[in-house]
Amino acid sequence: MHSGYLDDLGTVLGQYDVLAAFWVNIQLTVYAGIIALVLGTLLALMRISPVPSLRWAGSTYVTLLRNTPLTIIIVFFVLGMWGQLGFTLGPDFPTNFFRLSVLGLAVYHAAFVCEAIRSGVNTVPRGQAEAARAIGLGFWPTARLVILPQAFRGAVAPLGNVLIALIKNSTVAAAGSVAEASGLMREMIENSSSVILGIFLVFALGFVVIVVPVGLATTALSRRWAVAR
């Protein structure tokens, strides 16, 4: 790469607010991540609960949501939930579509959070649950006091992977009329096609810079929090 190319790239980057676009992806990730964690934990509880109908509802949810392309889910939220059912989440269009996309991302990733927590539950030895029952604890105290605390620690690594997937999948919110990084990249390339490789690398490295620390942090956490057995 000669300096002329870098100058051109610099000029192009100066014309757009790339950081603002990435900030949208980060916000999408944070909000959707929190909702997905709550919803996914609830689903995991349903799937290990004694009530057959709740178990069935939990596993049906996971089967349906996990096997549908995210693009379709996001379009459903915007065109279906809002367009047809009149489900409005914000005073103006940008807020509304942002929140609808957050919900779409959240319900999709909740299915994966549920599976991650279930795999965490599987790391808890049977004896723990048996001991809890032996001292007279019912389902809810057993889950809350004995199983879940250990399950979450065992689920840190898979939950970290869900978070990484969520960060990358936040680009699909473009299908929900949200102006974020992938849309901006496309616009920039179409307007300045001579520096296409440079533009791509800037955006790709942007994601690397966000994703890699998250990966390192969750790996470290999962080692530190691992329950010694």
């Binding site: 367009g83 047809q84 269009f93 299908a175 179409e190």
Partner: protein, 280 residues
């Protein structure tokens, strides 16, 4: 160092595998010579009802019919025509790469594009317009969109033009395609859809949308739809002669009515039918 060679080698192998797989679908595209062979490949849109639409195994729309007429005048029967999908982003590369002989795909003639490809025509002058609910009388032009909700396709410049030039307080919904926009319009969640008038008329002519939406009919830009040709093409004069003949013998009007007339849309008469520009 070994690794350094591997990635390119792998990519090359992948490209070979891909080439091998796709070539049996369109064996004719391997032969890049155009004309004279008795076959002609024409690029159209596959997803725009009323203009260029793949309807099962056949193709319908104004662009398709005009292309068939012009090809007929150039000496090609309907059976000699092979229609190829030409998405907007690929039109120039398909022409210069020789994958199509000409393109009829809502292709506006612009100076930028003229640097890479040649144009015959125009055969139609479209203009940016609005599609609104059939019973909506409050919107007659882009200025009325202040405080209203507008839908357009992701990354299109037409919605931005409205925000910049006419109504800053317009709220914008961006969808992957115009059919999604029409769905939101019919449901009452947006007040208008914007793009070229004839594309809107094509959408409004669909049986499912009939009576629900209408084209406002107050175009506020000028898009000259031309026939895209490779830079060195010698067909321009012949195509222009064919377009003139089509307009003079009434076929042009007939094709327009047949494809987008059901919506009640009338082409802008000040500019239509156009006179083909001189070939360069």
């Amino acid at each position: 160092m070994r690794r350094g060679l591997l990635a390119p080698a792998l990519l090359a192998a992948g490209a070979l595998a891909l080439g091998g797989c796709s070539s049996d679908d369109d064996s004719s595209s391997d032969d890049n010579s155009s004309g004279g062979s008795g076959k002609i490949r024409i690029g159209i849109k596959f997803d725009q009802p009323g203009l260029g639409f793949q309807d099962g195994s056949s193709y319908t729309g104004f662009d398709v019919d005009v292309a068939t007429y012009v090809a007929g005048k150039l000496g090609y029967d309907e059976g000699d025509i092979e229609f190829v999908q030409s998405p907007s982003a690929q039109r120039e590369s398909m022409l210069s790469g020789g994958q199509v002989d000409m393109i009829f795909a809502t292709y506006s003639i612009t100076d930028d594009r003229k640097k890479v490809v040649s144009f015959a025509g125009p055969y139609f002058v479209a203009g940016q317009d609005l599609l609104v609910a059939a019973d909506d009388t409050s919107i007659t032009g882009p200025e009325d969109l202040e405080g209203k909700n507008l839908c357009s396709v992701t990354g299109s410049t037409s919605a931005q033009r409205i925000k910049d030039d006419y109504a800053q307080g317009t709220q914008l919904l961006e969808q992957p395609g115009y059919s999604e926009c029409v769905t939101a319009l019919v449901a009452g969640q947006v007040d208008a859809v914007t793009t070229d008038d004839i594309i809107l008329a094509g959408l409004a002519s669909l049986p499912a949308n009939k009576g629900k939406v209408k084209v406002v009919g107050n175009p506020f830009s000028e898009e000259n739809y031309g026939v895209g040709l490779p830079k060195d093409s010698d067909k321009c004069e012949d195509i222009n002669t064919a377009i003139k003949a089509m307009i003079d013998d009434g076929t042009w009007q007939e094709l327009l009515d047949k494809n987008v007339g059901a919506s009640g849309y009338k082409a802008n008469e000040e500019l239509n039918p156009p006179t083909p520009a001189a070939c360069s």
